[in-house]
């Protein structure tokens, strides 16, 4: 490796950028590489194809997880309605009494659990960071592919396997796991605790262990690629914010997922080997279990040590995508690039020392809670820095309101709304009444669920041409945006009021409580809004698949006038991304609207060398 020679011929005339020859095309595999159907579409080792695999698998899971939520929303909004029409799909989980079908309560919990697991892990972790890390890291850094294409392919297939196992668990006669996405013991640690705790939980654990393997394989590749395979001139401080975000995300995953696995292993021992790590004095059917001395709180610590970084694993890639889309479409440099990078790093660091804010009500010592309150509230600072910088980037921008941009702006709105409620919850005194109510549900759905989806949509609309050489339909995209924005707020805004009134989350029915009757209409409204919002997502799916085949063709290499390297490849880039040498980099990623004493340019690609006059001017005025 070390003796690899860079033959820095100036190839500007041929490619439009200065390139380095790395001998890539000297190898005979150049064109024929993986051209068979199986190696090209299925067991592909090309990062662009793997990205699409992650995206489409993520979309599949998004639809499944979304449909599940509609079923349990039906139960919450219209508990007395007849659900027998669902029987052909849900079969035994709908019991029919006097001609009225009702949803089995056990299955309600299974649906909630699966919805959470699927969306958090399969859609917003694999579907989001898997897709865009794969697509953009090599392209924006000027690399031929990931450091290890083989591990990259395995990362996708472990994800696939994990999904297949979870999918199989849906068809068990005892149902999938039903103890919540956090899988707290004892429901998770005792196969006899509930019907979902039996085979469903076994498959759930197996599935998530494979999922972690997938995340780790992906993560080591992303980190190694970022640190080792950047093209000449691409210093860390010239990387686009997308890459910074993916990079820190991968580090978070690598440091936190193993801790989750250790928790899972101990749960497995409790389930199968009769240990009592998390179990203590439990009676089942009047019989005391032999397992004593364990503590479920220890599981919560292990879980949330991953769980909190995990929420940032979800949101950081969305933040990176949004930063990029905002800057390109506002035709302005991102405001405070260094501050943006530092806040990503700060968020990443802090996310490891706040986990106990999920456990304020779990009997954690109040003095220890105080420390976690302080760290939690400190996270608001880098988060706010990012928000201010996004808004400043928009300020006086020459904004193009295309679908990608709208979703990016929507992301900022949602992140503010959801972040503010996080600050409420971060205070342990306020969390005491709010914990496990709909207020928490509202908080995390807005700040994580919907916001991350908006980041993902911004990314898909924006980089769709990079994936398929065509554009998605912009009108449908705008319709999708407005429907989703209004719909999401309609669904989750009212939940804040319910939570403040004390309505608990994870309840099958509120019929026995008088105080929550006042929310019957609210619940109906939310359910209807959820169904409509889901309908708008179908618009997206249709637009996506239609555009793959019939979308408007991309004619220019760089349709948005962006500065970053992914737009220097041919429209239909083959394996290795660049037909000749790799472009070299001479400036940061955000030279938009550069208008100073020496020049007036709309944008300057990263590949363009800095002229002596420009350098002189910048040195004088910027440093």
């Amino acid at each position: 490796m070390a003796d690899l020679k860079h033959n820095e011929g100036l190839l500007v005339e041929e490619y439009g950028y200065e390139a380095i020859e790395d001998g890539f095309h000297d190898h005979h595999h150049g064109d024929k590489y993986q051209s068979g159907f199986i190696t090209h579409y299925i067991f592909s080792q090309d990062h662009k194809m793997i990205a699409k695999q992650f995206l489409i698998t993520g979309m599949f899971w998004g639809i499944i997880g979304g449909l599940m939520s509609l079923v349990f929303r039906m139960q919450l909004g219209f508990p007395d309605s007849d659900m027998s029409w669902l029987q052909p799909i849900l079969r035994g989980w709908i019991s029919i009494d006097n001609g009225v079908g009702t949803l089995d309560p056990q299955f309600y919990y299974a649906l909630v659990t699966m919805h959470g697991t699927i969306l958090v892990f399969f859609v917003l972790t694999a579907g989001l960071s898997g897709t865009f890390s794969n697509l953009l890291i090599p392209l924006q850094l000027g690399a031929r592919d990931m450091a290890s294409p083989l591990l990259n392919m395995m990362s996708y297939w472990f994800f696939f396997l994990s999904g297949a196992i979870m999918f199989a668990s849906l068809f068990l006669s005892t149902g999938p796991f039903s103890g919540g996405w956090t899988a707290y013991p004892p429901l998770s640690a005792l196969p006899q605790a509930s019907s979902g705790s039996a085979g469903g939980m076994t498959l759930w654990l197996l599935s998530l262990v494979f999922f972690v393997v997938s995340v780790l394989l992906g993560g080591i590749n992303y980190i190694t690629t970022v640190l080792n395979l950047r093209t000449k001139g691409m210093s860390l401080w010239r990387m686009p914010l997308t890459i910074w975000a993916f990079f820190v995300t991968a580090i978070l995953g690598l440091l936190s997922f193993p801790v989750l696995v250790s928790g899972f292993l101990l749960v497995m021992c409790d389930r199968g080997l009769g240990t009592s790590f998390f179990l203590d004095q439990i009676y089942i059917g009047g019989q005391a279990l032999e397992q004593v001395g364990g503590s479920p709180i220890l599981y919560q610590h292990l879980f949330w040590f991953l769980g909190h970084p995990e929420v940032y694993i979800i949101i950081l890639p969305a933040m990176g995508l949004v930063s990029e889309v905002l800057s390109v479409n506002a035709r302005k440099p991102i405001f405070g690039y260094h501050a943006m990078v530092l806040s990503i790093l700060a968020i990443g660091f802090l996310s490891f020392i706040v986990w106990a804010h999920h456990m304020f009500m779990a009997g954690v010592n109040p003095f220890i809670s105080n420390i976690f309150v302080i760290f939690t509230l400190i996270i608001a600072v880098p988060s706010a820095v990012k928000v201010f910088n996004w808004i400043s980037t928009l300020y006086k921008g020459n904004i193009r309101f295309n679908s990608g941009m709208l979703f990016a702006i929507g992301f900022v709105s949602l992140f503010i709304s959801g972040g503010l409620t996080g600050i409420f919850l971060g205070n342990s005194a306020i969390d005491i009444p709010m914990h496990d109510t709909y207020f928490v549900v509202a908080h995390f759905h807005i700040v994580m669920g919907v916001a991350a989806f908006f980041g993902m949509f911004a990314g898909v609309y924006h980089w769709f041409p990079k994936m398929y050489g065509r554009f998605m339909n912009d009108t449908l995209g705008k319709l999708h945006f407005w429907g989703t924005l209004i719909g999401a707020y309609a669904v989750f805004w009212p939940m804040h009021y319910m939570g403040m009134a004390g309505v608990p989350r994870r309840y099958y029915s509120f019929a026995t409580f008088d105080f929550s009757n006042q929310f019957d209409l609210t619940n109906q409204f939310i359910t209807i809004a959820a169904i409509i919002t889901f309908g708008f997502q179908i618009l997206f799916v249709v637009n996506f698949f239609y555009s793959i085949f019939y979308g408007k063709k991309q004619k220019q290499k760089n349709p948005y006038g962006a500065t970053t390297l992914e737009w220097t490849t041919p429209i239909d880039a083959g394996h290795g991304n660049w037909p000749g040498g790799i472009p070299t980099v001479h400036r940061w990623a955000y030279d938009y609207g550069k208008n100073d004493g020496t020049m007036d340019r709309e944008f300057i690609p990263q590949t363009e060398p800095v002229s002596p006059e420009e350098k002189e001017y910048d040195d004088k005025h910027l440093h």
Partner: protein
């Protein structure tokens, strides 16, 4: 195959990407064992915890694995210098020592059973058994790598290439890692008693 694919990469740093990856993996594993250690700490602090002495076997296994890292290290140095004979002697010895480590750990768990310490019952025994078993699982991974290394040593022509040095170095690094991990765990168990 991977090496061929990597040839074209535009590597920036002096560290080979595969070596770097291994370091990333090891830091990830460190987090996992850190989680187990903190579980141990917190669980012990919350009471209902029996104290007992580690079985003798654990010290023997420690000696075995330390010896095996040394033999592997010498084998690696010999290979780099072109001393194929020494390399071909020490590599199988390392493999045997590795397998002996697993066996001695197993005997250690049996000895714990004889002392009345089982997976079920008080969590103190189960914690040690589970943590050391998980460590052993990682050693098994290293043994697979050692088997491959032995196959390479005896099936391939006696040639010292850069790529083969790298491959052996990766095995060596990982083996050192599981060794150090066991030393850490042993010290941790001792300190906690």
């Amino acid at each position: 195959m991977m090496a061929k694919q990597l040839k074209y990469q535009n590597t920036r740093s002096k560290v080979h990407p595969h070596k770097f990856m291994l370091w990333v993996v090891m830091s990830s594993l460190c987090m996992m064992f850190a989680a187990f250690s903190s579980f141990y700490l917190v669980r012990q602090a919350s009471g209902n915890w029996h104290h007992f002495h580690l079985p003798q076997m654990f010290y023997i296994s420690t000696a075995i694995i330390v010896l095996s890292t040394i033999t592997l290290h010498i084998a690696y140095r010999a290979f780099k210098k072109g001393n194929i004979t020494l390399y071909k002697i020490l590599l199988p010895i390392t493999l045997i020592l590795g397998i002996a480590f697993i066996i001695s750990q197993y005997l250690g768990w049996l000895a714990l059973n004889d002392m009345g310490i089982y997976l079920t019952g008080n969590a103190s025994g189960a914690t040690i058994i589970v943590i050391s078993a998980l460590h052993a699982a990682h050693v098994l991974g290293g043994i697979v790598a050692l088997i491959l290394a032995n196959i390479h040593a005896f099936a391939l022509p006696n040639k010292v290439t850069k790529f083969r040095i790298l491959r052996l170095e990766l095995t060596l690094t990982y083996w050192h890692f599981v060794d150090a991990l066991w030393l850490y765990l042993l010290c941790f168990f001792l300190v906690m008693q």
